[in-house]
């Protein structure tokens, strides 16, 4: 161990840790300015790391000027990379605390200006501010607290994501981390902890929504020598990245939740099962575990209380079905991740046939908040049977894509239009998909449904892990159904017949329909197959696999019939049913001709271009590149890409600029 590390020697009692936390709080209280560079997945991809480096350099270069302002780089000023701020659409994002100044679309070259103007001169760099939408009054917003995207949220699981430096334990305790663990350890008996969790009404955030308290009570009753505690970070639902953001942005909170769970249930060994597609989450969690072990918060005789908890990380192998608890346990045993029928529950016989408690990342992250603030506080939020808040990833054709957290029971409309800012390019809303491949699509007339476990299930969808994918009129519902079935074919483990073979048959039928070869009887066949899968499959994956199909059939049957009877895809998506055509407004700019990969476009400068339909492969590049939107998508004999009252790309751009 190096000399620097030796300073944070092991804590030998809860009081030691409390003293350390108090010191950390005092240190942060001195801070007059904190620069938070978002290093969430979206911002990182857009170069957030470079922005942070640039900040470090610029601050160093202006050290003396800063000092004159009373800002000392180590003591009163801090710049850090944090987890996801949520509004990925505006990335890379930089915020300044305590003023809550919010800069969007920051580039490395803007950093110098921010340091010189904003930090040294207290001037605001206007072009980096968030632009409010014209219909909401327009103008620029300086503070993120004034943006509906943030002001309408209520962050519990995500409360420190985007606030703390994920790699700094000091930062974590400074905002209040580990308080709940100390409270549980010193003031509460294990039974009291379990009772508190039960009273809070917390339901599993992984998708099924089983009461966490009841699961824990069940585990307490089992006679055991050893209990395993597993955190399910195998976030496989496409379109969901809440758990990723939490694991990357606030790894200590996840582990604190597990530590409280370990104390309550007497678990001595634990696993964090993380998807292999999330290397940064693995890295951050590994570092956090190493740090906590080094400080005597994991391992044997934790804080001198005799409690033992060993935590290991296991990287998933990239199989969706491993998000299912029994499959996940098989995978941890080094086997093929096939689920088993759950005649015996895993709290009795799970991993290695020993009692096992498995919860989702977000569930574990809620635990410390519940212990700290009490069950009543948590239960005061949300709807009758779904308590607390839920994180969602709001993505697809919505303006403010990103990560949000709202109390259960918020209406879909509020989430999509108020927080999400409405549909991209102001096109008409068609559907919102929740619950991943096991969920369903809800149409516009369901927009006023409150979002909670039971309401969504009743409407034919489900809560799932929290992916919320918004679709506009350019999304084909048959294609979406086909997409999910194709996804599930790849992910079905193949153990039981209804799932393995049923999916293939449904796929073939859907494929036939999207290729324009469908006949009306196909729909009956699909419905029969779906029913069989629902009742006869072994695990939740197979049982819920038909939902994307049944829900689209329920709400969007006319689209299926259009594909079958009129050979028309109204969204202009199904390639076999569409042709591209250039209309007479073409300005002859040659752009589409240059970009066409099959050289199907002929035409000269300033003259109307023509697409040779024999050569066209419907790749849509011409449609994308056309500066004046003169490429039409034609299906079933009509132009389908133009929604009424839809502003063209140009108008939308002009509106965004004003």
């Amino acid at each position: 161990m190096s000399a620097a590390k030796a300073k944070t020697a092991k804590f030998s009692s809860p009081a030691d840790l409390t003293a350390f936390a108090e010191k950390a709080v005092k240190k942060t209280e001195k801070r007059e300015l904190e620069i938070r560079v978002c290093a969430g997945p979206g911002c990182l991809a857009l170069g957030a790391r470079k922005i942070y480096q640039e900040f470090e350099e610029q601050l160093e270069a202006n050290k003396s000027a800063l000092k004159k302002k009373g800002l000392d780089i180590k003591a009163t000023l801090s710049a850090k990379c944090t987890g996801c701020h949520g509004m990925c659409e505006a990335g890379p994002v930089v915020t300044m605390e305590p003023s809550s100044l919010f800069y969007t679309h920051v580039k490395p070259k803007d950093v110098e200006e921010i340091v010189l103007k904003t930090i040294l001169e207290d001037e605001i760099v206007e072009r980096l501010l968030y632009h409010q939408e014209p219909r909401k009054g327009g103008g620029q917003v300086e503070h993120y607290t004034d943006i509906p995207f943030y002001s309408l949220q209520n962050r519990v699981a995500l409360r420190w994501v985007g606030v703390v430096d994920p790699l700094s334990f000091e930062d974590f305790v400074a905002v209040g981390g580990m308080k709940a663990f100390i409270k549980a350890l010193t003031e509460m008996s294990p039974e009291e902890v379990v009772e508190e969790v039960y009273q809070s009404g917390l339901r599993g955030r992984g998708g099924a929504g089983f009461s966490t308290g009841r699961k824990w009570q069940g585990a307490l009753r089992v006679k055991k020598d050893r209990v395993w505690l597993i955190c399910n970070g195998d976030e496989g639902d496409p379109g969901a990245f809440m758990d990723r953001a939490i694991m990357e942005g606030d790894p200590y909170s996840v582990i604190e939740g597990m530590m409280i769970g370990a104390y309550a249930l007497g678990a001595t060994d634990g696993y964090l099962y993380v998807r292999h597609e999330y290397p940064l989450a693995v890295e951050n969690l590994e570092k956090a575990i190493a740090k906590l072990t080094e400080m005597g918060l994991l391992g044997e005789n934790i804080l001198g209380t005799g409690m033992t908890f060993n935590l290991k990380i296991s990287r998933g192998g990239g199989a969706f079905v491993c998000g299912e608890s029994s499959a996940l346990m098989r995978s941890l045993e080094g086997k093929v991740g096939e689920p088993r029928a759950k005649y015996v529950r895993s709290v009795e016989k799970g991993l290695h046939d020993e009692p096992t408690v498995l919860n989702n990342v977000e569930t574990f992250t809620c635990i410390p908040r519940i212990i700290e603030k009490g069950a009543h506080w948590f239960a005061s939020m949300g709807s009758e049977n779904s308590k607390g808040t839920k994180a969602f990833s709001l993505v697809g054709k919505v303006k403010h894509t990103g990560l949000i957290e709202v109390p259960m029971g918020r209406r879909l409309r509020e989430i999509i239009y108020e927080i999400g800012g409405g549909i991209l390019n102001d096109r008409p809303f068609k559907a919102v998909q929740t619950g991943g491949p096991s969920g369903g699509c809800l149409p516009a007339d369901k927009l006023d449904l409150p979002v909670d476990f039971d309401t969504l299930s009743r409407a034919g969808s489900m809560m799932g892990s929290g992916g919320m994918i918004v679709m506009d009129d350019q999304t084909c519902m048959v294609d979406i159904a086909k997409y999910f079935i194709n996804f599930l074919i790849g992910e079905s483990c193949g153990k039981c017949v209804p799932c393995r073979e049923g999916l293939r048959q449904v796929y073939d039928l859907l494929d036939k329909i999207t290729n324009g070869e469908g006949v009306p009887e196909d729909i009956d066949k699909i419905e029969k197959l779906c029913h069989t899968m629902e009742v006869a499959s072994l695990c939740a994956l197979g049982k819920s696999a038909p939902y994307p199909v049944t829900s689209t059939l329920l709400y969007f049957k006319d689209e299926y019939l259009e594909h079958i009877n009129e050979k028309k895809c109204r969204a202009g998506v199904c390639k076999k049913l569409i042709t591209y055509d250039i209309n007479k407004d073409c300005i002859g700019c040659l752009l589409c001709k240059k970009n066409c990969p099959t050289e199907a476009i002929s035409g000269e400068n300033k003259k109307l271009h023509v697409i040779d339909q024999d050569l066209c492969i419907q790749c849509g590049i011409c449609y994308d590149v056309c500066p004046v939107d003169t490429v039409d998508i034609i299906s079933g004999g009509v132009i389908v890409n133009r929604a009424a009252e839809t502003p063209t790309k140009e108008k939308a751009k002009a509106a965004a600029k004003s």
């Binding site: 991809a45 990287r315 192998g317 045993e333 080094g334 999304t475 293939r504 849509g620």
Partner: protein
């Protein structure tokens, strides 16, 4: 040179693609990597997936001779090693190019047009998703169910580089850029 046949992953729809792979001997370096990996883990079945992940990381694919050794060292039947290797998407049973292009096929990417990107990569590099290496040995491509970057859909990941909001028209540039770096 022996030719061995495998069942590779199913990709897209209902085709099971059988690929014949040209197998060369393990090089001395590769053998060294393997020995290091074996030394790191307890020699028992629960280590299997982690060992295979490390082999995949170091060798870039699961060489059949390496799988033989894994079976022997961990005392796991060779057939079980094969079943685990074919089950998980993270494993490749055929050699890959130097760089792996991952096209995200999450729902958010799908509704924003990711399928077109797959088609275009396949056409431009003359490879299939999940199979084959581009002529210059540089690229392989596969689809990923969701890289968790849904807010920047459609997303393409090449090694550790994330490309956000990719359109078919950007692919040429991405390929060029990655080829040079």
């Amino acid at each position: 040179m022996p030719l061995r046949r495998y069942y590779a992953h199913r990709e897209g729809g209902t085709d099971v693609i059988e690929t014949a792979v040209q197998v060369t001997e393990l090089t001395r370096d590769e053998q060294k990597h393997l020995d290091e990996i074996f030394a790191k883990y307890p020699k028992e079945e629960p280590s299997l997936i982690m060992v295979l992940q490390d082999v995949q990381d170091k060798l870039n694919w699961l060489h059949p001779d390496a799988l033989d050794q894994v079976a022997e060292v961990l005392h796991v039947p060779r057939a079980r090693v094969q079943s685990v290797a074919t089950f998980y998407r993270a494993f490749s049973l055929e050699p890959r190019g130097k760089k792996l292009i991952k096209v995200c096929m999450g729902t958010a990417c799908h509704v924003r047009g990711a399928k077109t990107l797959v088609d275009e990569f396949e056409r431009r590099l003359n490879i299939k998703a999940g199979h084959g290496v581009s002529e210059d040995g540089m690229f392989s491509m596969e689809t990923v169910n969701c890289v968790g970057a849904c807010a920047m859909a459609p997303a393409v990941v090449v090694q550790d580089n994330y490309y956000a909001k990719v359109g078919a028209k950007n692919l040429e540039k991405i390929i060029k850029q990655e080829r040079q770096s």
